[in-house]
Symmetry: C2
Subunit: 313 residues, 2 copies
């Protein structure tokens, strides 16, 4: 497949570069299993990011990439550090790819940007991106404003561009992988599924909460600021109540405070922390290794592919 | 397929019983093409419903069904009229299936209920429903409160019940059909795609607005009352602004007024009417016949099925 050749991987399965979850252990395990692991730089300082690059290289000799949210204050520094350390696979998100892609391409890198509309996908192609991740409303963490779901978004992005499209948001098993490829995606990026695995950097209590979650247990909050999908808890209920009475962005920022994702996702404070996770958490019931996840995805995809019914009369 | 046998159809494709759109011409055309047409009783009086049953029977000798929203004041009367007229395929929605299903089953009918969570699907199975429609957040019209998308909802409903599951919401072409069957659905129910077709009862101006819509052009409004997905227009913007400032349910009801869906969908008033439609409208670019839609769905599904890549190494 074109996408696998582009990324240097065996299976068209990318692990999302999630804050707190996506450190060296997870990224290396996914790459070692034939997928693409990503370091999530969004929760790293430039110093810890550099250390993570060294550690990941120690744990795998396969390709891996880095996710860089472009709106973060130290994004430029992180991109420079990664380039200097030899990284040539960049997944960028949450910002304007036209500002960073030309520089990364000039350095010989492969650049993939995360989009939430077909229009932004076209813009990515126009500024030189090699592929896009089309991420739907059901995804965990930060989320597009137009609320297009993966099922609706992916075929429209596929129709809008000629570069490969990865589907993200709502994919948790081989059935989801088969659905994504049916929609015309060349591959998938999975967040929640790899967040709930042995090598993920999340606090053990949060991992247990993910596999215990019911299908209805996530909510999209902070639509007036930057929308983010989280597991429901005391913090989320307070935000939802404030939003229901029409709280201003300023008021919501005060309620949000600082370092809530660290509190919840890294330190395991389940009621007051911000627990970013996707809707598909309702489907997840176990905490396997990343390698077991990749193997099961491919096996179950093949089972689905082989059993789709013939419909012509 | 079990579902096709249950419903007496050739292809596992059901046309949603939409208000204003789903009259005799549309339902008969879909049934004549090998799918299942549904009359949408939600916008009919008992008198016009009886006339529609007679007319549909004149236009097709294939099976067709009726959609009955159980929360409507005349739902009981409509169910009685349908049974008396010989209808034996019921798609019920928006209400408690435990109250109506036993009576319909006792009369020898097949009953399918529309659900937005796996929990409600289980309840449907327990009260005797023959199948469920699992309808996601991207669907047009009235919508579940938990905002589960089709991609996330369908596999979890499939895992929760043993009766057949139809996927609905966000499906507009053969790629979407293949995605739905990949997720474990036995069939699909399409609303928007059949709303935008020659035989649909919608006003011609609304049909043209659907095929002209951009991917970002629908919004879910009235989350505090009964959430409903509509095409953006002056009416929707007013509601969104009111919601942003925390308007009460009472205030929203006043802004909504009465007969807005009739004004928009039947009479073609595009700015002040309520234009119920799904997110997938962004994908729709033409107004074919219902028969052409069914043929294209099956043809494109087969193309997708035959071209899914082999993933094992």
């Amino acid at each position: 497949m074109k996408l696998c050749a582009l990324l240097g991987i065996t299976y068209p399965i990318v692990q999302g570069g999630m804050i707190w979850a996506s450190g060296p252990a997870l990224a290396a395990a996914v790459s070692n299993a034939g997928g693409l692991g990503l370091l999530g730089s969004g929760s790293m300082t430039p110093e810890s990011f550099t250390a993570a690059l060294v550690e990941t290289r120690r744990l795998t000799d396969r390709p891996f990439g880095v996710n860089v949210p472009l709106l973060y204050s130290h994004a430029g520094e992180v991109l420079d550090l990664a380039l200097a350390a030899g990284v040539r696979l960049f997944f960028t998100s949450a910002g304007n790819p036209a500002k960073t892609t030309p520089r990364l391409k000039a350095a010989g890198a492969t650049v993939v940007h995360v989009v939430s509309t077909p229009r932004l996908a076209k813009k990515c192609q126009d500024c030189g991106c090699d592929a896009v991740v089309a991420e739907g409303f059901e995804a965990g963490g930060h989320n597009g404003r137009d609320e297009l779901t993966t099922l609706v978004l992916v075929p429209q992005v596929v129709d809008a561009v000629t570069i490969p499209v990865l589907a993200a948001g709502g994919i948790g098993d081989g059935r989801g992988l088969a659905a994504a490829l049916s929609l015309g995606a060349s591959g998938v990026q999975l967040g929640s599924r790899f967040a709930a695995c042995r090598e993920s950097g999340l606090h053990e209590r949060f991992k247990q909460a993910i596999v215990a979650a019911a299908p209805e247990d996530t909510r999209l909050i902070l639509r007036k600021l930057v929308p983010v999908r989280c597991l429901r808890n005391a913090f989320v209920e307070r935000i939802l109540q404030a939003e229901e009475r029409g709280a201003s962005g300023e008021e919501l920022l005060t309620l949000l405070g600082r370092q809530r994702s660290r509190l919840g996702m890294l330190e395991g404070e389940l009621e007051e922390g911000e627990l970013e996770i996707g809707q598909i958490s309702g489907l997840l019931r176990d905490l396997p290794t990343a390698g077991e996840i990749v193997t099961a995805l491919v096996r179950d995809y093949e089972r689905v592919r082989g059993s789709l019914p013939v419909l012509h009369a």
